[in-house]
Symmetry: C2
Subunit: 166 residues, 2 copies
């Protein structure tokens, strides 16, 4: 395959072969990425969906059900099943909204925070090892490419997530 240069910059990294390698890297890395939390959750009555809910409730305490729905990109019914069990088991608390009483503000309980810590410790340990092995420049590139892959709306969400609501 013949590659042309543009503005003197090599575009070798845009060959189909390079792109395919990137695609496969995403596939394998994502499996590794979820493996540790999955291992912790198996045996408990929870799964990956619970992990995601817990993560974002920890991340943005007080967020509403609709907020969480939007972030996770699932239906109300699907989230409800997960949230129901977390609330019933006392890991998540749903407080009636102060200004708008229709809303439910979601918080982790002490017990919920404990599980969150176990899960994110495991996930961060892998991430930390990878970051350390790759170095700061690579990490910067990693984040840049992932961000560029997101749809604009998702990217906005990703960037604007902060504590105290969404």
């Amino acid at each position: 395959m013949v590659e042309s240069n543009q503005g003197g910059e090599s575009l070798l990294f845009l060959t189909d072969e390079q792109l395919r390698k990137g695609i496969e890297a995403m596939f394998f890395a994502y499996r590794a990425f979820t493996a540790d939390p999955d291992r912790i959750l198996e045996g408990m009555d929870y799964g990956r969906a619970h992990h995601r809910a817990i993560h974002f409730i920890h991340r943005a305490p007080g967020l509403t059900v609709t907020n969480l729905l939007t972030i996770l990109g699932v239906t109300k019914q699907s989230l409800n099943r997960v949230l129901r069990s977390l609330i019933d088991d006392g890991l998540v608390e749903a407080r009636v909204g102060r200004s708008d009483k229709r809303e439910r503000n979601l918080h982790l309980t002490a017990k919920g925070a404990e599980l969150e810590r176990a899960l994110s410790d495991a996930q961060r340990a892998r991430m930390r090892a990878a970051y350390r092995a790759a170095g700061p420049v690579a990490v910067q590139g990693f984040r840049t490419v992932l961000e560029a892959m997101m749809d604009p709306e998702m990217r906005r969400q990703y960037q604007s997530l902060r504590e105290g609501g969404v």
Copy 2:
């Protein structure tokens, strides 16, 4: 949080906050990554599992069922369901092994290759746009971090995948 330096190199990129950002970037980017093929497959009788099988059969034509099982990390029963429909619909051909007749060497038919092209065109288009936006240095970092995240065994698989078998 106080950060220490080591060997004169900043370790700011290893803070929990940075790691958390990386974790969320993986989550959001992976959703975007699978969105386009998912859109193509919805309506057809296929799903993400079919896409994965098709991808790796295209990638390493002639690979055996056991090979594919190992790459995908699922059970024989789970893969068989997917493979069954692809073979019945004439997208995949399972040829009896030449040297070992117990083995089945998997190949895409013309029809299978056509779907593969549609799926990978969509996925590569997104990847290409992200790569182009991020630039070659970032892409290098992206690949480096993803590779570092994999388990050694998975990394070996990722690196050794080539045509003509696995």
